[in-house]
């Protein structure tokens, strides 16, 4: 089979030297690779040909255009059906989108996300350091924490925290195994819906972010720590100034995944009848029966939040890529500015 193709090739290339166009002929078959085998019969010195006056014709990609057309058609069809199908009830969506109750729910969602996100990652950072420490106790406590909170459903955790008063009627602060109490309170007054929601989301988030942060720290070369230690840089400073900024590059993409997940994850607190965005629209559509349009209201808000977070993610990642890439790529804003600057400058140059 391979010999057959070789014969076919040599037959095809035999006519090339005979075609009376030596320079272009060698260039063409030279690119093929096997053309040199046919040529050694004529080892005359090659003439360098000047191509500088030739016009370059761009390669054509007809299938790319076909693909583009098909996809464009699909996008158009979806947009058309969204706009013209009356059952989407865009009027209802618009009416509720900025309604006071929905906006209140949105604020609660943002509050829950921000608080449990910050607390979750702070606790996660501590858990990650514990896991990487030399103390076997700290390592196993951290491991067990992640193990428990990652293996139980968030829904169960949430209900458990909310019903903590059933398990422990009072919560008190004192010296263990004695009767000394500094502070004592009914569990039900301490654990409100909000507290249960924050507690559940935070602890769950901490378990996941601990692993993300640990992964980021492990991705930093051991030589960095060694160099810092050899320079006498203290341990805390080594973590915060040398290791963490480098670990951030590995941490950030996954961390933003988590935060975006958390934004939507907050909707789970509807089981506590806590009036965040999702619970609010549920209450409304149970009353008005406009289920889909109201779910759309919530969906659009989640999309808005995610979009804003994505912009933050872009700039924060860019900040931490300093030194990791030789030259930072332009931001979309800088690209736009450059585009307008160069296009505005053209007429000026002509005037000169």
């Amino acid at each position: 089979m391979s010999s057959a193709t070789r014969v076919a090739q040599s037959q095809r290339e035999q006519p090339v030297p005979a075609a009376e166009a030596p320079p272009t002929g060698t260039a063409g078959s030279g690119a093929g690779g096997s053309g040199t085998q046919a040529l050694p019969a004529a080892p005359q010195p090659r003439q360098a040909r000047d191509y500088s006056s030739y016009r370059v014709v761009a390669a054509k990609h007809p299938w790319r255009w076909v693909g583009t057309a098909v996809v464009a058609l699909g996008v158009l069809a979806v947009a058309w059906s969204l706009a013209t199908n009356p059952r989407w009830e865009w009027g209802v969506v618009a009416q509720w989108f900025t309604a006071q109750s929905v906006v209140n729910g949105l604020v609660e969602t943002l509050k829950l996300t921000a608080i449990s996100g910050v607390l979750g990652f702070a606790l996660g950072f501590i858990l990650a350091l514990m896991r990487l420490s030399a103390s076997p106790l700290l390592v196993s406590v951290s491991w067990t924490f992640s193990w428990i909170f990652r293996s139980t459903p968030l829904l169960v955790q949430m209900l458990l925290w909310y019903n903590l008063g059933y398990l422990y009627e009072k919560i008190s602060l004192g010296i263990p195994f004695t009767d000394v109490r500094f502070f004592e309170v009914q569990t039900t007054t301490l654990i409100s819906q909000f507290a249960a929601a924050v507690l559940g989301l935070t602890l769950n988030q901490a378990a996941y972010s601990a692993e993300i942060i640990r992964g980021g720290i492990l991705s930093v070369d051991q030589g960095q720590l060694e160099a810092a230690a050899a320079l006498g840089i203290p341990a805390w400073r080594r973590s915060t100034r040398i290791v963490l900024p480098q670990a951030m590059r590995a941490i950030l993409p996954t961390a933003f995944n988590e935060i975006i997940g958390l934004v939507k994850g907050t909707s789970i607190v509807y089981v506590l009848a806590y009036s965040e965005l999702f619970y609010t629209v549920q209450v409304i559509y149970n009353r008005t029966q406009q289920v889909l349009p109201l779910l759309l209201v919530a969906t659009l808000w989640y999309i808005v939040i995610t979009s804003v977070l994505s912009v933050f993610q872009y700039y924060i990642e860019r900040h931490y890529s300093k030194g990791a890439v030789r030259n930072l790529p332009l931001t979309p804003l800088q690209k736009a500015r450059k585009f307008f600057a160069t296009h505005a400058a053209v007429p000026n140059r002509r005037n000169l």
């Binding site: 030589g223 960095q224 230690a229 050899a230 320079l231 006498g232 203290p234 990791a324 030789r326």
Partner: protein, 269 residues
Amino acid sequence: MTATLTAPTATRGLVEITGVRKSFGPTEVLKGVSLTVEPGGVAVIVGPSGSGKSTLLRTINHLEKVDGGHITIDGKLVGYAVRGDRLHELREKEILKQRTEIGMVFQNFNLFPHLTALENVAEAPVVAQGRSKAEARRRGLELLDRVGLKDRAGAYPRQLSGGQQQRVAIARALALDPKILLFDEPTSALDPELVNEVLDVIRELATSGTTLIIVTHEMGFARDVADTVVFMDQGQVVEQGTPQDIFGNPREPRTRSFLSKVLEPAFNI
């Protein structure tokens, strides 16, 4: 070399290594190594890979804890404090303080990639020696100038060539005004044409009165710059002496066999 011997300021930086042992798991990489480097001296350690050269270097600034024997710098024990008839392990903070007197340059540079050349050089003097930021920057620029990189002060390590990175790393080690500088195969990760720019910087340091201990495979450089050449093999110092002795007239058969392998190609150039 003669300049080193006559360096008048070399009153600090005496390194005495006595019977140092170190094992990693079942393999003993240092089997009782003893070595003395005079203040301002330049000791070059050569030997086949796996002979324990790098490990020995890393015990001097306590990056590796020794299993036996001891190391003193200007008579002070590294990593331990003597109280009565006991050796107390130093705490992290005290070890870090000792390390500021010992600069180290690594084979893979280990510059901090997210900091500029100047930030790399100016970091340790501020956090480890409590100098002011302005002073550390001024001194950092001076040192970058000394290694010929003043105009690249704002560059990140990845924007520099290997040779430039290693020169920044040397400036970073010098920023703490160490008594002793340790070089762990400083040119092994470099392209051949970049080796000399780094060796030139080290050569200049050899006359500065700082004690230098250098692990290298560059035999020509070792002959040039060393006042003591130490040949190590299998965790032991086999032979040590002046470059003339070791390269011209090695006594031990192991030294002779090693040198015959590494010197030939160097002379063919």
